[in-house]
């Protein structure tokens, strides 16, 4: 009977091997799918039940997990309310996550591949795993200045360090208080979400990175850049009629308020300084749609894969336009659309001698033991202009602030280069006010783009110079005061 016993013993061993294979299949190969199954409440308990890493701005946690007495053990808390909502997003049991809370979830929970060795160490030392801290590039003073400047107005502010691409301020209004969504009471969190989703101005959506607007006259910077690269100089005279009839159409282009630009011709520098529509429309037709689109693309228009690491919706310059449409697009109307972040990148590129640096929001990821997991290094994004052309455009922008439409952005003792924009949106609605600038002009430390929707507090009478420039000024002052 020993032969069948040996065979049976072998079969029993095979049975155990099959079981080990089956357990491995579930616990290793299917584990990811099972852990991500929406019906698996463990994933929630685990994520919320471990100490999630903080999101930090200049050494202060703007989002942090504090111990709580409910089954989740930790409550996500946002100390500054809505100030950082465009940066952190929210982290909610009932509604998922957005912003950095969403895109940096792997490191915040400590599950990211970069944190593998931290996890192994936690495993060996028996320490309960903790998420890593995400340290942002945000400068709290600039963020606060931007938020204060926008106040109750709808809009967005983006400030960038031109030499590195580090984002110093990222504000979208109306914002929201992420604490409302982070409460563990699903019903309350759900109600808050529903209310925010239906609220005017779509607070849950960041105007700075996820909304596109007609850039209006701020787009003349790109038209001017295209002109410089086509061989124009700051002194090149442009034809500037009071009214420009568009070929092949009954439409005309006029200057703001129907005014003259001061003569039949005006230099490129003066055209930019006083934001002469007819001169730039004619210039656009002379340069052609392709030259303008190519210049815009060099600044980042049309890039649908840009992440900071928040995903940024691409800005658009249409191609294949006829002369009339090209004329309108050259002054930032028609179907030209840009995010506030994109316009900040334009200003930053000009400030940085024509080199656009890749914008980034996360400076450092730091594990719970304070060791650096990853650190951002400034990267060149594109070369949009030659240094000489960038310097020429900078000088023209200085004129805008010194004696043109952007005088409200003057900072005593600091040379500010800027450009206003007042973009008509729909018929009858108040225009969107823009201002984009950088300072100090000779050694730029900050580039900023400000958008105020529908004229903000000034309504129909608003211009970029009146509504948006003072906000840009405040943000730049906050950065320069550091």
């Amino acid at each position: 009977m020993n032969t069948p016993l040996r065979r049976l013993a072998s079969m029993v061993l095979v049975m155990f091997l099959v079981l080990i294979g089956s357990a491995t299949s579930v616990q290793v190969f299917q584990a990811n799918r099972l852990n991500n199954d929406p019906r698996n409440v463990r994933t929630l308990y685990r994520e919320f039940g471990s100490a999630r890493g903080p999101i930090v701005a200049a050494g202060t946690a703007v989002a942090s997990s504090v111990p709580s007495d409910d089954p989740f053990r930790y409550q996500r808390s946002y100390a500054a309310g809505d100030l950082y909502s465009a940066v952190t997003g929210f982290y909610s049991i009932a509604n998922g996550a957005s912003g950095l809370e969403s895109v940096e979830n792997d490191v915040l929970t400590g599950r990211g591949d970069q944190l593998f060795f931290s996890r192994v160490r936690d495993l060996l030392t028996g320490r309960s795993p903790e998420g890593a801290a995400v340290e942002t590039t945000i400068l709290p003073a600039a963020q606060q200045a931007a938020r204060d400047g926008l106040g109750d107005q709808q809009g967005a502010v983006v400030a960038i360090d031109p030499s590195t691409g580090a984002i110093l301020a990222l504000v979208s209004t109306p914002g929201f208080d992420p604490n409302q969504l982070a409460v563990h009471d699903s019903a309350a969190a759900g109600a808050a979400y529903t209310a925010l989703a239906a609220a005017p101005g779509n607070p849950l959506r960041s105007n700075a990175t996820r909304e596109r607007y007609a850039p209006g006259s701020t787009f003349k910077l790109i038209t001017a850049a295209a002109a410089l690269s086509a061989g124009y100089t700051t002194a090149t005279p442009l034809s500037s009629p009071r009214e420009l009839a568009l070929p092949g159409s009954t439409a005309t282009i006029q200057n703001f308020g129907g005014e003259s630009c001061g003569g039949d011709t005006v230099s490129l520098a003066d055209a930019l300084r006083i934001s002469c529509n007819t001169a730039f429309a004619q210039l656009g037709m002379d340069l052609g749609n392709d030259a303008i689109a190519a210049q815009a693309a060099a600044f980042g228009f049309g890039d649908d894969s840009l992440t900071i690491p928040l995903a940024v919706v691409e800005s658009v310059v249409p191609t294949g336009l006829d002369a009339a449409q090209t004329a309108q697009s050259a002054i930032g109307q028609r179907d030209v659309q840009a995010t506030p972040l994109q316009m900040a990148m334009v200003a930053a590129g000009i400030a940085n001698g024509g080199v656009v640096m890749r914008p980034y929001l996360v400076a450092t990821v730091r594990a719970a033991d304070l060791s650096v997991v990853s650190q951002a290094s400034p990267q060149q994004y594109s070369v949009a202009m030659t240094p000489a052309n960038a310097a020429a455009l900078r000088d023209m922008m200085l004129g805008v602030v010194q004696s043109g439409t952007g005088k409200a952005a003057q900072i005593p003792g600091v040379q500010v280069a800027g450009k206003t924009g007042t973009a008509q949106t729909t018929q009858g609605a108040a225009p969107n006010a823009w201002f984009t600038a950088f300072a100090p002009a000779d050694a730029p430390r900050v580039a900023v783009a400000v958008l105020v929707e529908h004229g903000g507090s000034m309504g129909n009478d608003a211009t970029g110079g009146q509504v948006a420039a003072p906000i840009a000024k405040a943000v730049m002052e906050a950065v320069l005061a550091q």
Binding site: A9, L13, T24, N40, R42, G126, S128
Partner: protein, 462 residues
């Protein structure tokens, strides 16, 4: 000069004591870690619990020294380790759910160990059991049928596999498997020659004579009756697997296994088609992750899928004692204790547990190979196999290898009858292994001058 050197047989009691210390340390450390994992404190009862388990294990060890001094030294420590780990997990689940299963399990452990010790003391020679072959059959049939009886029988969760006697619920099928193993061993050792007689050969497979198919058809019918009447797929599978395995051991003919597997497969398929509750089990297995199965209020795959979530949460290294959420799974302390352990100890821990079971059953198989009498071989082989097969059915069900059944994991899971039955199996294996490893007095080297190499003497040149 090659001579056969007699080697003193190592009884292995010292090894057993050392391994027992390890096994106890494992259980007590697990118990302490549960407290540390849940509340950062060593539980207050750890000393009493540790002393209690140590006392029980040492008493068992003493009985083995006294009554079965040559018994296999690995079996007892493995069982103590499994029992201790199971207790720690049940205690951990108690903390999460506010239940008091652990205390009852501890009492059942004590009762079971006393019973196992009693078996070792009372049963001096396992061959005595052969006298009770047909008594065992009657006992087994009564036990299997008892849940269907009007007064004592109980239906719990749709399965009619419980009896309640004097306020204590029991699953008699657990005990029936021992009685059946005794019956099969006795019956087969007597009739193996008849069964092995050449029947017709079809396609190179020697088929048994039709009249010899009688017993297998009876057992097939009985296990299908369990499946249909008591709605207990697991026990039915277990009893049938036990019979087929022992039949194969006795006859060495693979045709029995093929016939048995075919018959059971056909019967189970027919039952799945005919009876909705059996069919539902298969649906819940094949389409476990589908929304319809998951959301079914009864008989769906909710429990299975929650168990899979638990296992997946454990991953490679587990969450650690007290740091997972095994309490989310229904019946986490009994049917699904494997997923609870898999969650908190990870694949690493689960594989370690499976290896413990593998070693335990292989030790049983080795005992069967070592013992001299046919009855002992069949009994030890059958008991070792049924334990392994039960683990296979449970773990296979929880990991979705096979359809889920309502069996308990031996020694780990909460349940008095299961503990009792498996500890008695351990006592029987210890008893048989004592016989297998005991040096035969008639075969002393002095009396076997040339070539007479006794089984227990290992040869080799010095």
């Amino acid at each position: 000069m090659a001579t056969v050197q007699p080697v003193r047989v190592r009884a292995g009691r010292g090894v057993e004591l050392g391994l027992l210390a390890l096994a106890l340390a494992l259980g007590v450390a697990a118990y302490a870690l549960v407290g540390l994992g849940t509340s950062d404190r060593v539980p207050a009862g750890v000393l009493g619990y540790g002393l209690g388990m140590t006392g029980l294990a040492l008493a068992m060890h003493a009985v083995v020294r006294w009554r079965a001094p040559f018994a296999d030294p690995v079996i007892l420590p493995i069982v103590v380790a499994l029992n201790g780990i199971g207790l720690a997990m049940i205690y951990r689940l108690d903390l999460a759910e506010g239940s008091t299963f652990a205390n009852r399990q501890l009492v059942w452990t004590a009762i079971s160990m006393v019973l196992a010790a009693g078996t070792l003391i009372a049963l001096r020679d396992h061959r005595t059991l052969r006298r009770y072959t047909y008594t065992a059959m009657v006992v087994a049939l009564v036990l299997i049928a008892s849940p269907l009886l009007p007064v004592v029988g109980q239906t719990i969760n749709g399965a009619q596999i419980w009896v309640r006697v004097g306020g204590v619920g029991l699953q008699p099928a657990e005990l029936a498997k021992i009685a059946l193993a005794v019956f099969f061993a006795g019956y087969l050792v007597t009739n193996r020659d008849t069964l092995t007689l050449a029947g017709p050969r079809v396609l190179g497979v020697a088929l048994p004579r039709l009249r010899d198919l009688g017993p297998i058809l009876v057992v097939w019918g009985a296990s299908l009756a369990v499946l249909v009447l008591q709605r207990d797929l697991g026990t039915s599978l277990l009893l049938f697997g036990l019979f087929v395995a022992m039949l194969y051991l006795a006859t060495e003919r693979i045709s029995w296994v093929l016939i048995g597997a075919t018959l059971f497969g056909a019967g189970a398929t027919l039952a799945a088609v005919t009876f909705p509750h059996v069919g539902a089990r298969f649906d819940g297995w094949l389409n476990a992750l589908s929304a319809t199965q998951y959301d079914k209020p009864h008989g769906g795959s909710y429990q299975l899928v929650q168990g899979l979530f638990g296992l997946a949460n454990g991953g490679l290294f587990g969450t650690g004692w007290g740091q997972g959420r095994p309490d989310i799974v229904p019946y986490a302390e009994s049917d699904f204790i494997i997923s609870s352990l898999g969650e908190e100890l990870g694949l690493t821990g689960l594989v370690a547990l499976l290896l413990l079971y593998a070693i335990l059953t292989e030790r049983g198989m080795r005992t069967a190979i070592g013992v001299r009498d046919g009855f002992g071989k069949l009994l030890a082989g059958g008991l070792a196999f049924v334990m392994a097969f039960q683990v296979f059915v449970v773990v296979g069900g929880v990991t979705r290898l096979i359809p889920l059944t309502g069996l308990t994991t031996p020694f780990l899971a909460y349940g008095g009858s299961s503990l009792l039955a498996n500890w008695v199996i351990v006592a029987l294996l210890l008893r048989i292994s004592d016989d297998a490893r005991r040096p035969a007095p008639a075969l002393r080297p002095a009396l076997t001058p040339a070539g007479g190499t006794p089984v227990v003497v290992s040869g080799g040149a010095p």
